[in-house]
Amino acid sequence: EDQVTQSPEALRLQEGESSSLNCSYTVSGLRGLFWYRQDPGKGPEFLFTLYSAGEEKEKERLKATLTKKESFLHITAPKPEDSATYLCAVPPDTGRRALTFGSGTRLQVQP
């Protein structure tokens, strides 16, 4: 059974203070990994797909990286509007299963 663990559970940063969120996973075979952002009262918003170890994706202040056992979401010089819960998920090995989500990291960026 696939397992996804995110850390830390919560993170408070000052504006401009860079940091990284971790997503570690145990799967039968690497099939990729998704990152989402969820704002309060909203659904998860798709950010990145990473399909192979060594792959990197960037969007504004966010950069996602992938290894064979974990993924990092690096946040460079964050702003208050980056405050949200960040979720990672791994796709199933068969269409008869769904994404396995981590429990998320709640990020708060203070001005």
């Binding site: 998704f34 009262g41 659904g43 998860p44 798709f46 796709p91 269409g95 994404l99 429990s103 998320g104």
Partner: protein
């Protein structure tokens, strides 16, 4: 344009009632999902349909019945609502069934009195 839309956004009702939640997507996707997000914000799959065929049916009470009239719509009907059904229910859609990202609606917040 809203990609995945759910109605209603809020649903407050009494225990024992029957209610429905509707979902529509205009992304041209062929797979749709229902998730339940509990108080700890953990997303758990309930059902999935691909081209109107039920392909994922997790262990949920049979009081929950999904229905997909076409590829763009997936509804969720809940009978005899219980206090433990209080949660946020999210609809999502994707192209294909496995390693494609899913796109989510903004959720239906169900509160049982």
């Amino acid at each position: 344009d809203t990609a995945v839309s759910q109605t209603p956004k809020y649903l407050v009702t009494q225990m024992g009632n029957d209610k429905s939640i509707k979902c529509e997507q205009n992304l041209g996707h062929d797979t749709m999902y229902w998730y339940k997000q509990d108080s700890k914000k953990f997303l758990k799959i309930m059902f999935s349909y691909n081209n109107k065929e039920l392909i994922i049916n997790e262990t949920v009470p049979n009081r929950f019945s999904p229905k997909s009239p076409d590829k763009a719509h997936l509804n969720l009907h809940i009978n005899s609502l219980e206090l433990g059904d209080s949660a946020v229910y999210f609809c999502a859609s994707s192209r294909g069934t496995s390693n494609q990202p899913q796109h989510f609606g903004d959720g239906t917040r169900l509160s049982i009195l």
